[in-house]
Subunit: 238 residues, 2 copies
DNA sequence: GAGTGAATATTCATATGATAAATCTACACA
DNA sequence: TGTGTAGATTTATCATATGAATATTCACTC
Protein backbone atom coordinates (compact mmCIF):
# COMPACT_ATOMS: atom_id res chain seq x y z
CA UNK A 1 0.00 0.00 0.00
CA UNK A 2 1.13 3.52 -0.68
CA UNK A 3 2.22 4.70 2.71
CA UNK A 4 2.44 8.31 1.58
CA UNK A 5 -1.30 8.49 0.87
CA UNK A 6 -2.37 11.84 2.34
CA UNK A 7 -1.63 12.37 5.97
CA UNK A 8 -3.73 9.41 6.97
CA UNK A 9 -2.50 6.69 9.25
CA UNK A 10 -2.27 3.07 8.20
CA UNK A 11 -5.68 2.09 9.47
CA UNK A 12 -7.37 4.97 7.68
CA UNK A 13 -5.56 4.16 4.47
CA UNK A 14 -6.70 0.57 4.56
CA UNK A 15 -10.25 1.62 5.36
CA UNK A 16 -10.35 3.82 2.29
CA UNK A 17 -8.61 1.31 0.06
CA UNK A 18 -10.96 -1.51 1.03
CA UNK A 19 -14.02 0.72 1.19
CA UNK A 20 -13.45 1.94 -2.35
CA UNK A 21 -12.76 -1.60 -3.55
CA UNK A 22 -15.96 -2.91 -2.01
CA UNK A 23 -18.06 -0.02 -3.31
CA UNK A 24 -16.65 -0.49 -6.79
CA UNK A 25 -17.76 -4.10 -6.72
CA UNK A 26 -14.30 -5.60 -6.79
CA UNK A 27 -15.46 -7.80 -3.94
CA UNK A 28 -18.89 -9.19 -4.61
CA UNK A 29 -21.68 -9.06 -2.06
CA UNK A 30 -21.86 -12.25 -0.04
CA UNK A 31 -18.42 -13.35 -1.06
CA UNK A 32 -15.52 -13.12 1.30
CA UNK A 33 -12.63 -10.74 1.41
CA UNK A 34 -9.16 -12.11 1.96
CA UNK A 35 -8.70 -13.34 5.50
CA UNK A 36 -7.27 -11.12 8.17
CA UNK A 37 -3.85 -12.76 7.91
CA UNK A 38 -3.92 -12.51 4.15
CA UNK A 39 -4.74 -8.80 4.24
CA UNK A 40 -1.80 -8.15 6.55
CA UNK A 41 0.51 -9.82 4.11
CA UNK A 42 -0.99 -8.18 1.05
CA UNK A 43 -0.65 -4.65 2.45
CA UNK A 44 2.43 -5.26 4.52
CA UNK A 45 0.95 -4.01 7.79
CA UNK A 46 0.32 -5.47 11.20
CA UNK A 47 -2.74 -7.34 12.40
CA UNK A 48 -3.68 -4.46 14.74
CA UNK A 49 -3.97 -1.98 11.92
CA UNK A 50 -5.79 -4.47 9.73
CA UNK A 51 -8.27 -5.45 12.39
CA UNK A 52 -9.02 -1.84 13.25
CA UNK A 53 -9.74 -1.11 9.61
CA UNK A 54 -12.04 -4.13 9.43
CA UNK A 55 -13.87 -2.89 12.51
CA UNK A 56 -14.38 0.55 11.01
CA UNK A 57 -15.83 -0.92 7.84
CA UNK A 58 -18.03 -3.13 9.99
CA UNK A 59 -19.27 -0.04 11.82
CA UNK A 60 -20.24 1.48 8.49
CA UNK A 61 -22.21 -1.63 7.60
CA UNK A 62 -20.08 -2.72 4.65
CA UNK A 63 -18.79 -6.00 5.99
CA UNK A 64 -19.22 -8.58 8.71
CA UNK A 65 -16.56 -10.65 10.33
CA UNK A 66 -16.99 -13.93 12.20
CA UNK A 67 -14.65 -16.70 13.23
CA UNK A 68 -14.33 -19.51 10.75
CA UNK A 69 -16.56 -17.66 8.30
CA UNK A 70 -14.17 -14.87 7.51
CA UNK A 71 -14.83 -11.35 6.35
CA UNK A 72 -17.83 -10.93 4.08
CA UNK A 73 -19.31 -8.08 2.11
CA UNK A 74 -22.76 -7.28 3.47
CA UNK A 75 -25.76 -6.69 1.20
CA UNK A 76 -26.08 -3.08 0.10
CA UNK A 77 -29.20 -2.56 2.20
CA UNK A 78 -27.09 -2.54 5.32
CA UNK A 79 -24.50 -0.06 4.06
CA UNK A 80 -24.70 3.30 5.78
CA UNK A 81 -25.39 5.19 2.59
CA UNK A 82 -25.50 8.48 4.48
CA UNK A 83 -22.02 8.07 5.81
CA UNK A 84 -19.91 10.58 3.88
CA UNK A 85 -17.15 8.05 3.34
CA UNK A 86 -19.44 5.35 2.01
CA UNK A 87 -21.19 7.80 -0.25
CA UNK A 88 -17.84 9.03 -1.53
CA UNK A 89 -16.64 5.52 -2.30
CA UNK A 90 -19.80 4.76 -4.21
CA UNK A 91 -19.66 7.94 -6.25
CA UNK A 92 -15.93 8.06 -6.79
CA UNK A 93 -16.38 4.97 -8.93
CA UNK A 94 -18.62 5.40 -11.91
CA UNK A 95 -21.85 7.11 -10.88
CA UNK A 96 -24.44 5.81 -13.26
CA UNK A 97 -27.23 8.01 -14.58
CA UNK A 98 -29.61 5.80 -12.64
CA UNK A 99 -27.77 6.58 -9.44
CA UNK A 100 -27.77 10.27 -10.18
CA UNK A 101 -31.51 10.16 -10.64
CA UNK A 102 -31.91 8.42 -7.30
CA UNK A 103 -29.84 11.08 -5.60
CA UNK A 104 -31.85 13.84 -7.09
CA UNK A 105 -35.09 12.15 -6.06
CA UNK A 106 -33.92 12.36 -2.49
CA UNK A 107 -32.60 15.90 -2.82
CA UNK A 108 -35.99 17.00 -4.09
CA UNK A 109 -37.60 15.74 -0.91
CA UNK A 110 -35.00 17.07 1.49
CA UNK A 111 -34.22 20.48 0.09
CA UNK A 112 -37.81 21.40 -0.61
CA UNK A 113 -38.82 20.81 2.98
CA UNK A 114 -35.61 22.38 4.25
CA UNK A 115 -36.43 25.57 2.37
CA UNK A 116 -39.89 25.56 3.89
CA UNK A 117 -38.53 25.05 7.38
CA UNK A 118 -35.95 27.78 6.92
CA UNK A 119 -38.65 30.18 5.79
CA UNK A 120 -40.80 29.20 8.75
CA UNK A 121 -38.05 29.34 11.33
CA UNK A 122 -36.77 32.81 10.48
CA UNK A 123 -33.38 32.48 12.12
CA UNK A 124 -32.03 35.83 10.98
CA UNK A 125 -28.28 35.22 11.33
CA UNK A 126 -28.60 31.99 9.39
CA UNK A 127 -30.71 33.63 6.72
CA UNK A 128 -28.02 36.27 6.46
CA UNK A 129 -25.57 33.43 5.81
CA UNK A 130 -27.74 32.30 2.90
CA UNK A 131 -27.59 35.84 1.55
CA UNK A 132 -23.82 35.81 1.82
CA UNK A 133 -23.66 32.56 -0.13
CA UNK A 134 -25.92 34.08 -2.76
CA UNK A 135 -23.54 36.99 -3.18
CA UNK A 136 -20.67 34.54 -3.59
CA UNK A 137 -22.62 32.97 -6.43
CA UNK A 138 -23.06 36.34 -8.08
CA UNK A 139 -19.35 37.05 -7.70
CA UNK A 140 -18.57 33.69 -9.23
CA UNK A 141 -20.60 34.59 -12.29
CA UNK A 142 -18.20 37.46 -12.79
CA UNK A 143 -15.20 35.19 -12.46
CA UNK A 144 -14.46 35.74 -8.78
CA UNK A 145 -14.17 32.37 -7.06
CA UNK A 146 -15.48 28.93 -7.92
CA UNK A 147 -19.11 28.78 -8.96
CA UNK A 148 -19.56 25.14 -7.93
CA UNK A 149 -18.29 25.83 -4.43
CA UNK A 150 -20.54 28.86 -4.15
CA UNK A 151 -23.53 26.88 -5.38
CA UNK A 152 -22.91 24.15 -2.82
CA UNK A 153 -22.38 26.66 -0.02
CA UNK A 154 -25.77 28.15 -0.84
CA UNK A 155 -27.57 24.82 -0.56
CA UNK A 156 -25.75 23.92 2.65
CA UNK A 157 -26.61 27.25 4.24
CA UNK A 158 -30.30 26.49 3.74
CA UNK A 159 -29.96 23.15 5.50
CA UNK A 160 -28.31 24.92 8.39
CA UNK A 161 -31.08 27.49 8.55
CA UNK A 162 -33.65 24.79 9.34
CA UNK A 163 -32.19 24.53 12.85
CA UNK A 164 -33.01 20.86 12.61
CA UNK A 165 -30.03 18.61 13.33
CA UNK A 166 -31.23 15.93 10.95
CA UNK A 167 -31.30 18.30 8.04
CA UNK A 168 -27.99 19.79 9.07
CA UNK A 169 -26.48 16.33 9.19
CA UNK A 170 -27.44 15.84 5.56
CA UNK A 171 -25.04 18.61 4.55
CA UNK A 172 -22.27 16.26 3.58
CA UNK A 173 -24.69 14.04 1.72
CA UNK A 174 -26.06 16.94 -0.27
CA UNK A 175 -22.61 18.32 -0.89
CA UNK A 176 -21.35 15.08 -2.38
CA UNK A 177 -24.47 14.49 -4.41
CA UNK A 178 -24.48 18.06 -5.64
CA UNK A 179 -20.86 18.08 -6.67
CA UNK A 180 -21.28 14.96 -8.75
CA UNK A 181 -24.58 16.13 -10.21
CA UNK A 182 -23.23 19.50 -11.23
CA UNK A 183 -20.22 17.96 -12.91
CA UNK A 184 -22.50 15.60 -14.73
CA UNK A 185 -25.11 18.06 -15.93
CA UNK A 186 -22.45 20.52 -16.99
CA UNK A 187 -20.91 17.79 -19.09
CA UNK A 188 -24.24 16.99 -20.71
CA UNK A 189 -25.26 20.54 -21.46
CA UNK A 190 -21.75 21.77 -22.06
CA UNK A 191 -22.39 24.84 -19.95
CA UNK A 192 -22.62 25.88 -16.35
CA UNK A 193 -26.14 25.34 -15.15
CA UNK A 194 -26.06 27.18 -11.87
CA UNK A 195 -28.60 29.95 -12.28
CA UNK A 196 -28.27 32.92 -10.02
CA UNK A 197 -31.82 34.01 -10.71
CA UNK A 198 -33.44 30.82 -9.45
CA UNK A 199 -31.32 30.86 -6.35
CA UNK A 200 -32.19 34.48 -5.65
CA UNK A 201 -35.89 33.68 -5.90
CA UNK A 202 -35.45 30.97 -3.29
CA UNK A 203 -33.49 33.26 -1.01
CA UNK A 204 -36.09 36.01 -1.25
CA UNK A 205 -38.89 33.61 -0.36
CA UNK A 206 -37.01 32.38 2.72
CA UNK A 207 -36.06 35.90 3.70
CA UNK A 208 -39.69 36.98 3.58
CA UNK A 209 -40.86 33.91 5.44
CA UNK A 210 -43.00 32.79 2.56
CA UNK A 211 -43.11 29.05 3.16
CA UNK A 212 -45.12 28.16 0.10
CA UNK A 213 -42.96 30.20 -2.27
CA UNK A 214 -39.79 28.77 -0.76
CA UNK A 215 -41.00 25.24 -1.34
CA UNK A 216 -41.95 26.02 -4.88
CA UNK A 217 -38.70 27.81 -5.71
CA UNK A 218 -36.66 24.89 -4.42
CA UNK A 219 -38.82 22.43 -6.31
CA UNK A 220 -38.49 24.34 -9.57
CA UNK A 221 -34.72 24.38 -9.36
CA UNK A 222 -34.48 20.66 -8.96
CA UNK A 223 -37.20 19.40 -11.22
CA UNK A 224 -35.28 20.90 -14.12
CA UNK A 225 -32.21 18.84 -13.32
CA UNK A 226 -34.26 15.72 -12.69
CA UNK A 227 -36.04 16.04 -16.01
CA UNK A 228 -32.71 16.48 -17.76
CA UNK A 229 -31.39 13.28 -16.28
CA UNK A 230 -34.58 11.39 -16.97
CA UNK A 231 -34.49 12.35 -20.64
CA UNK A 232 -30.83 11.34 -20.82
CA UNK A 233 -31.79 8.01 -19.32
CA UNK A 234 -34.50 7.59 -21.92
CA UNK A 235 -31.98 8.35 -24.68
CA UNK A 236 -29.55 5.79 -23.36
CA UNK A 237 -32.18 3.08 -23.42
CA UNK A 238 -33.39 3.98 -26.88
CA UNK B 1 -18.67 -4.61 32.27
CA UNK B 2 -21.44 -7.14 32.15
CA UNK B 3 -19.93 -9.86 30.05
CA UNK B 4 -23.24 -11.63 29.67
CA UNK B 5 -24.77 -8.72 27.75
CA UNK B 6 -26.56 -10.34 24.81
CA UNK B 7 -24.49 -12.53 22.58
CA UNK B 8 -22.23 -9.66 21.66
CA UNK B 9 -18.49 -9.86 21.86
CA UNK B 10 -16.44 -7.60 24.08
CA UNK B 11 -15.79 -4.96 21.45
CA UNK B 12 -19.47 -4.71 20.56
CA UNK B 13 -20.42 -4.43 24.19
CA UNK B 14 -18.01 -1.59 24.76
CA UNK B 15 -19.20 0.15 21.61
CA UNK B 16 -22.77 0.09 22.85
CA UNK B 17 -21.88 1.04 26.39
CA UNK B 18 -19.81 4.03 25.32
CA UNK B 19 -22.14 4.96 22.47
CA UNK B 20 -25.11 5.14 24.81
CA UNK B 21 -23.08 7.07 27.37
CA UNK B 22 -21.98 9.63 24.81
CA UNK B 23 -25.45 10.02 23.34
CA UNK B 24 -26.93 10.50 26.78
CA UNK B 25 -24.51 13.34 27.37
CA UNK B 26 -22.58 11.65 30.14
CA UNK B 27 -19.47 12.72 28.28
CA UNK B 28 -19.74 16.31 27.12
CA UNK B 29 -18.94 17.35 23.59
CA UNK B 30 -15.39 18.59 23.26
CA UNK B 31 -14.33 17.04 26.51
CA UNK B 32 -12.27 13.91 26.60
CA UNK B 33 -13.23 10.37 27.40
CA UNK B 34 -10.99 8.40 29.72
CA UNK B 35 -7.74 7.53 28.01
CA UNK B 36 -7.31 4.25 26.19
CA UNK B 37 -5.37 2.76 29.08
CA UNK B 38 -7.94 3.98 31.58
CA UNK B 39 -10.80 2.42 29.63
CA UNK B 40 -9.03 -0.93 29.60
CA UNK B 41 -8.73 -0.83 33.34
CA UNK B 42 -12.26 0.43 33.91
CA UNK B 43 -13.85 -2.33 31.86
CA UNK B 44 -11.29 -4.98 32.56
CA UNK B 45 -10.51 -5.77 28.94
CA UNK B 46 -7.45 -5.67 26.74
CA UNK B 47 -6.19 -2.77 24.69
CA UNK B 48 -7.05 -4.51 21.40
CA UNK B 49 -10.71 -4.80 22.27
CA UNK B 50 -10.79 -1.25 23.60
CA UNK B 51 -9.08 0.21 20.57
CA UNK B 52 -11.37 -1.62 18.19
CA UNK B 53 -14.39 -0.21 20.00
CA UNK B 54 -12.87 3.27 19.79
CA UNK B 55 -12.34 2.80 16.07
CA UNK B 56 -15.94 1.76 15.54
CA UNK B 57 -17.22 4.81 17.37
CA UNK B 58 -14.82 6.92 15.31
CA UNK B 59 -16.26 5.40 12.15
CA UNK B 60 -19.72 6.47 13.28
CA UNK B 61 -18.49 10.01 13.82
CA UNK B 62 -18.99 10.14 17.59
CA UNK B 63 -15.40 10.57 18.68
CA UNK B 64 -11.93 11.40 17.48
CA UNK B 65 -8.68 10.08 18.77
CA UNK B 66 -5.23 11.60 18.42
CA UNK B 67 -1.95 11.03 20.20
CA UNK B 68 -1.33 13.24 23.17
CA UNK B 69 -4.79 14.76 22.82
CA UNK B 70 -6.74 11.71 23.81
CA UNK B 71 -10.22 10.58 22.86
CA UNK B 72 -12.74 13.37 22.42
CA UNK B 73 -16.45 13.53 21.80
CA UNK B 74 -17.05 15.13 18.41
CA UNK B 75 -19.66 17.85 17.89
CA UNK B 76 -23.08 16.43 17.11
CA UNK B 77 -22.91 17.69 13.54
CA UNK B 78 -20.46 14.96 12.70
CA UNK B 79 -22.43 12.11 14.26
CA UNK B 80 -23.87 9.73 11.71
CA UNK B 81 -27.41 10.37 12.78
CA UNK B 82 -28.68 7.92 10.17
CA UNK B 83 -26.70 5.06 11.58
CA UNK B 84 -29.24 2.80 13.28
CA UNK B 85 -27.01 2.35 16.32
CA UNK B 86 -26.41 6.06 16.80
CA UNK B 87 -30.09 6.83 16.36
CA UNK B 88 -30.96 4.12 18.87
CA UNK B 89 -28.54 5.46 21.45
CA UNK B 90 -29.93 8.95 21.08
CA UNK B 91 -33.54 7.85 21.39
CA UNK B 92 -33.05 5.23 24.05
CA UNK B 93 -32.17 8.07 26.38
CA UNK B 94 -34.82 10.65 26.90
CA UNK B 95 -36.26 11.73 23.57
CA UNK B 96 -37.35 15.29 24.11
CA UNK B 97 -40.43 16.72 22.48
CA UNK B 98 -38.12 18.97 20.52
CA UNK B 99 -36.32 15.95 19.12
CA UNK B 100 -39.57 14.27 18.24
CA UNK B 101 -40.60 17.34 16.31
CA UNK B 102 -37.34 17.29 14.41
CA UNK B 103 -37.85 13.65 13.49
CA UNK B 104 -41.28 14.28 12.24
CA UNK B 105 -40.09 17.22 10.19
CA UNK B 106 -37.79 14.88 8.35
CA UNK B 107 -40.37 12.12 8.05
CA UNK B 108 -42.75 14.58 6.42
CA UNK B 109 -40.20 15.26 3.72
CA UNK B 110 -39.15 11.67 3.15
CA UNK B 111 -42.42 9.80 3.30
CA UNK B 112 -44.35 12.28 1.24
CA UNK B 113 -41.92 12.02 -1.64
CA UNK B 114 -41.61 8.26 -1.15
CA UNK B 115 -45.36 7.91 -1.56
CA UNK B 116 -45.20 9.96 -4.73
CA UNK B 117 -42.35 7.87 -6.11
CA UNK B 118 -44.14 4.64 -5.25
CA UNK B 119 -47.26 5.84 -7.04
CA UNK B 120 -45.18 6.87 -10.04
CA UNK B 121 -43.08 3.73 -10.19
CA UNK B 122 -45.94 1.23 -10.12
CA UNK B 123 -43.92 -1.78 -9.07
CA UNK B 124 -46.87 -4.15 -8.73
CA UNK B 125 -45.34 -6.80 -6.43
CA UNK B 126 -44.16 -4.11 -4.05
CA UNK B 127 -47.50 -2.36 -4.12
CA UNK B 128 -49.07 -5.70 -3.28
CA UNK B 129 -46.78 -5.80 -0.26
CA UNK B 130 -48.17 -2.44 0.85
CA UNK B 131 -51.65 -3.92 0.53
CA UNK B 132 -50.63 -6.87 2.68
CA UNK B 133 -49.31 -4.53 5.36
CA UNK B 134 -52.58 -2.61 5.21
CA UNK B 135 -54.52 -5.80 5.88
CA UNK B 136 -52.29 -6.52 8.85
CA UNK B 137 -53.27 -3.11 10.19
CA UNK B 138 -56.92 -3.95 9.80
CA UNK B 139 -56.43 -7.28 11.54
CA UNK B 140 -54.61 -5.50 14.35
CA UNK B 141 -57.63 -3.27 14.88
CA UNK B 142 -59.58 -6.42 15.62
CA UNK B 143 -56.99 -7.59 18.09
CA UNK B 144 -55.00 -9.86 15.79
CA UNK B 145 -51.33 -8.96 16.06
CA UNK B 146 -49.54 -5.81 17.15
CA UNK B 147 -50.87 -2.58 15.70
CA UNK B 148 -47.59 -0.71 16.10
CA UNK B 149 -45.68 -3.36 14.18
CA UNK B 150 -48.29 -3.38 11.46
CA UNK B 151 -48.21 0.41 11.23
CA UNK B 152 -44.45 0.40 10.88
CA UNK B 153 -44.50 -2.39 8.31
CA UNK B 154 -46.89 -0.30 6.23
CA UNK B 155 -44.61 2.72 6.19
CA UNK B 156 -41.54 0.60 5.43
CA UNK B 157 -43.28 -1.11 2.54
CA UNK B 158 -43.83 2.26 0.91
CA UNK B 159 -40.16 3.11 1.17
CA UNK B 160 -39.34 -0.18 -0.49
CA UNK B 161 -41.83 0.50 -3.27
CA UNK B 162 -39.87 3.57 -4.38
CA UNK B 163 -37.19 1.27 -5.79
CA UNK B 164 -34.73 3.94 -4.74
CA UNK B 165 -31.92 2.59 -2.56
CA UNK B 166 -31.62 5.83 -0.63
CA UNK B 167 -35.23 5.73 0.43
CA UNK B 168 -34.97 2.03 1.19
CA UNK B 169 -31.93 2.69 3.34
CA UNK B 170 -34.00 5.06 5.45
CA UNK B 171 -36.17 2.16 6.58
CA UNK B 172 -34.37 1.65 9.85
CA UNK B 173 -34.38 5.38 10.48
CA UNK B 174 -38.11 5.63 9.92
CA UNK B 175 -38.76 2.51 11.94
CA UNK B 176 -36.93 3.87 14.96
CA UNK B 177 -38.44 7.31 14.68
CA UNK B 178 -41.90 5.88 14.16
CA UNK B 179 -41.75 3.53 17.10
CA UNK B 180 -40.76 6.32 19.46
CA UNK B 181 -43.27 8.74 18.00
CA UNK B 182 -46.16 6.33 18.25
CA UNK B 183 -45.35 5.50 21.84
CA UNK B 184 -45.20 9.18 22.61
CA UNK B 185 -48.38 10.32 20.89
CA UNK B 186 -50.30 7.39 22.32
CA UNK B 187 -49.20 8.47 25.76
CA UNK B 188 -50.31 12.04 25.15
CA UNK B 189 -53.70 11.22 23.68
CA UNK B 190 -54.22 8.13 25.79
CA UNK B 191 -55.39 6.20 22.75
CA UNK B 192 -54.00 4.44 19.73
CA UNK B 193 -53.64 6.96 16.97
CA UNK B 194 -53.00 4.65 14.04
CA UNK B 195 -55.91 5.24 11.73
CA UNK B 196 -56.70 2.55 9.23
CA UNK B 197 -58.75 4.93 7.12
CA UNK B 198 -55.93 7.36 6.46
CA UNK B 199 -53.58 4.56 5.60
CA UNK B 200 -56.07 3.03 3.20
CA UNK B 201 -56.45 6.34 1.42
CA UNK B 202 -52.71 6.45 0.90
CA UNK B 203 -52.60 2.89 -0.35
CA UNK B 204 -55.41 3.48 -2.81
CA UNK B 205 -53.67 6.54 -4.24
CA UNK B 206 -50.43 4.60 -4.75
CA UNK B 207 -52.29 1.64 -6.19
CA UNK B 208 -54.00 3.86 -8.72
CA UNK B 209 -50.78 5.66 -9.56
CA UNK B 210 -52.19 8.97 -8.46
CA UNK B 211 -49.02 10.82 -7.54
CA UNK B 212 -50.67 13.98 -6.32
CA UNK B 213 -53.18 12.16 -4.12
CA UNK B 214 -50.45 9.94 -2.68
CA UNK B 215 -48.41 12.95 -1.68
CA UNK B 216 -51.39 14.61 -0.12
CA UNK B 217 -52.52 11.52 1.78
CA UNK B 218 -49.08 11.03 3.25
CA UNK B 219 -48.86 14.68 4.17
CA UNK B 220 -52.24 14.67 5.89
CA UNK B 221 -51.29 11.70 8.05
CA UNK B 222 -48.18 13.36 9.34
CA UNK B 223 -49.22 16.95 9.70
CA UNK B 224 -51.70 15.81 12.32
CA UNK B 225 -48.99 14.27 14.45
CA UNK B 226 -46.69 17.23 13.92
CA UNK B 227 -49.37 19.68 15.01
CA UNK B 228 -50.05 17.61 18.09
CA UNK B 229 -46.41 17.72 19.10
CA UNK B 230 -46.10 21.40 18.34
CA UNK B 231 -49.05 22.24 20.56
CA UNK B 232 -47.61 20.07 23.33
CA UNK B 233 -44.37 21.99 22.97
CA UNK B 234 -46.25 25.25 23.27
CA UNK B 235 -47.97 24.00 26.42
CA UNK B 236 -44.69 23.03 27.99
CA UNK B 237 -43.25 26.47 27.45
CA UNK B 238 -46.33 28.22 28.77
C1' DG C 1 9.12 40.85 29.46
C1' DA C 2 7.80 38.72 25.18
C1' DG C 3 8.55 35.56 21.98
C1' DT C 4 10.99 31.43 20.23
C1' DG C 5 12.54 26.88 20.14
C1' DA C 6 14.20 22.66 22.10
C1' DA C 7 13.43 19.04 25.58
C1' DT C 8 10.01 16.29 27.85
C1' DA C 9 6.19 13.62 28.84
C1' DT C 10 1.94 11.74 27.55
C1' DT C 11 -1.06 9.40 24.57
C1' DC C 12 -2.36 7.04 20.61
C1' DA C 13 -0.42 3.99 16.58
C1' DT C 14 1.69 -0.09 15.16
C1' DA C 15 3.89 -4.52 15.58
C1' DT C 16 4.18 -9.28 17.24
C1' DG C 17 3.32 -13.57 19.41
C1' DA C 18 0.39 -16.45 22.17
C1' DT C 19 -4.07 -18.30 23.61
C1' DA C 20 -9.19 -18.56 23.55
C1' DA C 21 -13.55 -19.00 21.34
C1' DA C 22 -16.49 -19.89 17.59
C1' DT C 23 -18.02 -22.73 13.91
C1' DC C 24 -17.65 -25.12 9.50
C1' DT C 25 -16.25 -29.71 7.68
C1' DA C 26 -15.75 -34.33 7.64
C1' DC C 27 -15.89 -38.62 9.38
C1' DA C 28 -17.29 -42.29 12.39
C1' DC C 29 -21.06 -44.40 14.38
C1' DA C 30 -25.72 -45.85 15.44
C1' DT D 1 -29.90 -41.70 6.91
C1' DG D 2 -29.30 -39.00 10.66
C1' DT D 3 -26.36 -37.65 14.59
C1' DG D 4 -22.71 -36.55 17.28
C1' DT D 5 -17.86 -35.77 17.80
C1' DA D 6 -13.04 -34.56 16.47
C1' DG D 7 -10.36 -31.64 13.86
C1' DA D 8 -9.14 -27.62 11.36
C1' DT D 9 -9.66 -22.85 10.33
C1' DT D 10 -10.53 -18.18 11.30
C1' DT D 11 -11.57 -14.44 14.09
C1' DA D 12 -11.49 -12.66 19.13
C1' DT D 13 -8.85 -11.46 22.92
C1' DC D 14 -4.83 -10.73 25.63
C1' DA D 15 -0.13 -9.09 26.75
C1' DT D 16 3.91 -6.53 25.86
C1' DA D 17 7.16 -3.81 23.31
C1' DT D 18 8.31 -0.02 20.38
C1' DG D 19 7.29 3.96 17.31
C1' DA D 20 5.16 8.41 16.23
C1' DA D 21 2.77 12.55 17.17
C1' DT D 22 2.00 16.51 19.86
C1' DA D 23 0.68 19.42 24.10
C1' DT D 24 3.31 21.33 27.69
C1' DT D 25 7.09 23.17 29.95
C1' DC D 26 10.98 25.73 30.47
C1' DA D 27 15.23 27.69 29.25
C1' DC D 28 17.11 30.93 26.21
C1' DT D 29 17.41 34.97 23.28
C1' DC D 30 16.34 39.59 22.09
Amino acid sequence: MDREQNGRNLTQQLVHTLGAAIASGRYKVGEGLPSEAHLCEEFGISRSATREAIKMLTAKGLISSRPRQGIRVQPRETWNMFDPDVLGWILRGQPTLEMLKEFLQLRVAIEQEAAALAAEDQDRPKIAAIGAALRRMKDAEEGLGDSVDADIAFHISILKATNNPFYMQLSSFIETALRVSIRFTNRIKGVETASYKNHKRLYDAIDQGNVRAARKASDTMQIEALELIKSELANKVA
